[in-house]
């Protein structure tokens, strides 16, 4: 008898219950629309002025990846001011001072607002290496700046 009334309530109520399920995402909406990231990646950022161009370098806080071909590589992302994007022809990254423009290092590619470069890292680091940023503008000007590699390396040292 009692079983019957329970079943009756269930049959009547399940439709409304499913409607209530639509409300479940509501508490998450403010986070969803807020500009702050929900998952903050553990990354390192450094600001550096390369000639007339202020840029931000970012990399994940992790050790360089060992590629199948043997070398160690680390990915860096380069943020340029939107106003400078049309003025910058190329951004190169290298561990150690480039000897010439030919050896400026890895060319950053991809999204112009967040270019990325896979930089070869020497197997053995003495701890005093520098990461050199070379930027070439469309008028042929070359600008360089460097920062200690240890500041923007990440991973366990």
């Amino acid at each position: 008898m009692r079983n019957d009334s329970m079943r009756h309530y269930w049959q009547r109520g399940k439709f409304h219950l499913s409607a209530l399920m639509m409300l479940v995402p509501l508490p998450f909406l403010p986070d969803y629309f807020s500009p702050k990231p929900i998952f903050v990646p553990p990354e390192i950022r450094r600001d550096i002025a390369v000639g007339p161009f202020p840029v931000t370098l970012a990399t994940y806080d992790e050790a360089p990846a060992r590629m199948p071909t043997g070398e160690r590589m680390k990915e860096y992302r380069i943020h340029i001011r939107p106003a400078d994007i049309d003025r910058v022809r190329g951004v190169f990254l290298r561990v150690g001072k480039p000897r010439s423009l030919r050896t400026a290092g890895a060319l950053a590619f991809g999204n112009p607002y967040e270019r990325e470069a896979d930089v070869t890292v020497p197997d053995e680091l003495g701890g005093r290496e520098e990461l050199w940023v070379t930027m070439e503008d469309w008028s042929g000007g070359v600008h360089q700046a460097s920062l200690p590699l240890g500041e923007i390396f990440g991973g366990k040292r």
Binding site: M67, T69, G90, F92, R99, R102, T103, A104, A106, D118
Partner: protein, 105 residues
């Protein structure tokens, strides 16, 4: 109906198969062969060879000692210079490999 499901499956597969894009990068290896001859082999990380790609041997004072190009077998041989030098495998701006003379054995 059946084709729709097939298309959906194919689309799902395409989405999953699209992994992180990894740029292919140049690789180069130099070693000593028979006496004072250095042999360098160039290529790309996707396994392709690099015949005709520039490989220069440059002294530390930036004087170009050997101006070469990789042969059809993707290698180049040259006499080991007496002075300090580095090998520059140059597949274009940003696609270079430098090998110090101390690393060539």
């Amino acid at each position: 109906m059946k084709t729709h499901r097939l298309f959906a499956l194919a689309g799902l597969f395409a989405l999953c198969a699209a992994g992180a894009a990894q740029a292919h990068y140049p690789i180069c290896e130099c070693r000593m062969v028979e006496g004072e001859t250095v042999q360098c082999t160039g290529g790309f990380s996707d396994g392709s060879k690099a015949p005709g790609v520039v490989l220069d041997v440059i002294a530390y004072d930036e004087q170009v000692l050997v101006k070469g190009k990789l042969g059809p077998d993707s290698t180049l041989s040259f006499q080991r210079p007496a002075q300090d030098f580095y090998v520059l495998f140059d597949a274009g701006p940003g696609h270079t490999v430098e090998i110090e003379h101390t690393a060539i054995k």
